[in-house]
């Protein structure tokens, strides 16, 4: 009596169970795929440390922030000055050389014209 009943019940529930487990497996696969593909995208997010939309002024600088940033700031400022000075020196040198050459040639051509 029980045997046929169990057979009837299992015949009715097993296909449903396997459909549910299939759906669960598919869902799990989909979730894993989404997580794996989104991981590089999440890794590519820009760091949130720097303000990109606007700068908000504050009054006091926390002491722990002073040391690490100062060498970078000083280096940046020094780079600007060194580049400027080097360029000024380079222009002045080139200009002086060309002007002295122009002067020599003008003197020479004036002398030739007089003769």
């Amino acid at each position: 009596m029980i045997g046929p009943m169990v057979r009837v019940l299992s015949a009715a529930t097993l296909p449903r169970m396997s459909r549910v487990s299939k759906m669960l497996r598919r869902g799990a696969r989909l979730l894993v795929t989404v997580l794996l593909t989104s991981a590089p995208l999440l890794a590519m997010q820009p760091p949130t440390g720097a303000a990109t939309d606007g700068f908000v002024p504050i009054d006091q600088l926390p002491p722990q922030e002073q040391l690490p940033a100062a060498p970078l700031l000083i280096t940046a400022y020094a780079v600007v000055w060194v580049l400027l000075m080097a360029y000024l020196w380079s222009i002045a040198k080139r200009l002086r050389k060309v002007e002295s050459e122009v002067e020599t040639l003008e003197r020479r051509s004036a002398g030739a014209a007089r003769r």
Binding site: F55, D59, V80, L83, E99
Partner: protein
């Protein structure tokens, strides 16, 4: 040149002497703190570079279409200054980025395009120097091409997702920051005018020298 050079030189020297105090007195930015002060000479350097590129592009376009050699000389002077100020921007930027982003460099749209712009103008100078006869026309075309890139470099931060601060930063600066920033911009622009005057004079003298050599040969 003597008439305007000395007064402008005096004002520029004074502004550059005062600038560190003005920048030091500007308020700290809430997230970047001290390192944000690099902004006061990093951005003006780029402003000057863009101005120099614009001058170089316009004068080289005049040279290309009208054959005016004086325009070519002005363009060459501006191109050299564009490289110098671009170099300032490219060095000071990573020094800021190291603290703000934790890395020296990011291959994002703004940084990569700015680097390419600098490379175009370094190429311009190399072509002029080693390109031989006719290289002026070739380099002039490069300058026009470089000038057309400037708007893309400027708005790249608003179009693409980049780590670089957007163009909205400058118009929304707080009162203390606003004054210090525009003071620095004025100082850099005056410096550009002075260097441009010297560099153009050098180009004119060089052209004069070429003419004298040609006259002597004939």
């Amino acid at each position: 040149m003597q008439n305007f050079f000395l007064p402008v030189f005096g004002v520029t020297a004074l502004m550059f002497a005062v600038a560190p105090f003005v920048i030091a007195n500007a308020p700290y930015e809430s997230t970047m703190l001290l390192v944000q002060k690099i902004f006061y000479f990093h951005v003006p350097a780029w402003f000057v570079m863009f101005t120099a590129i614009f001058i170089s592009g316009v004068y080289d376009a005049i040279y290309l279409f009208k054959g005016d050699r004086r325009a070519d000389r002005i363009a060459a002077a501006a191109a050299e200054l564009a490289v110098i100020f671009g170099l300032m921007g490219l060095v000071t930027g990573p020094l800021w980025g190291r603290k703000a982003w934790g890395v020296w460099w990011q291959w994002d749209a703004r940084l990569t395009m700015a680097l390419l712009l600098e490379v175009i103008f370094i190429g311009y100078l190399l072509v002029r120097k080693y390109g031989g006869p006719g290289s002026e026309k070739l380099s002039a075309a490069m300058a026009v091409f470089g000038m057309l890139n400037v708007p893309f470099v400027y708005i790249s931060v608003n179009i693409w997702r980049t780590v670089h601060p957007r163009t909205s930063v400058v118009p929304t600066l707080g009162p203390g920051m606003f004054g210090a920033f525009w003071f620095s911009v004025c100082a850099f622009m005056l410096l550009f005018v002075l260097l441009m005057a010297l560099r153009v004079r050098f180009e004119h003298q060089r052209a004069k020298l070429d003419d004298l050599y040609l006259a002597e040969e004939t």
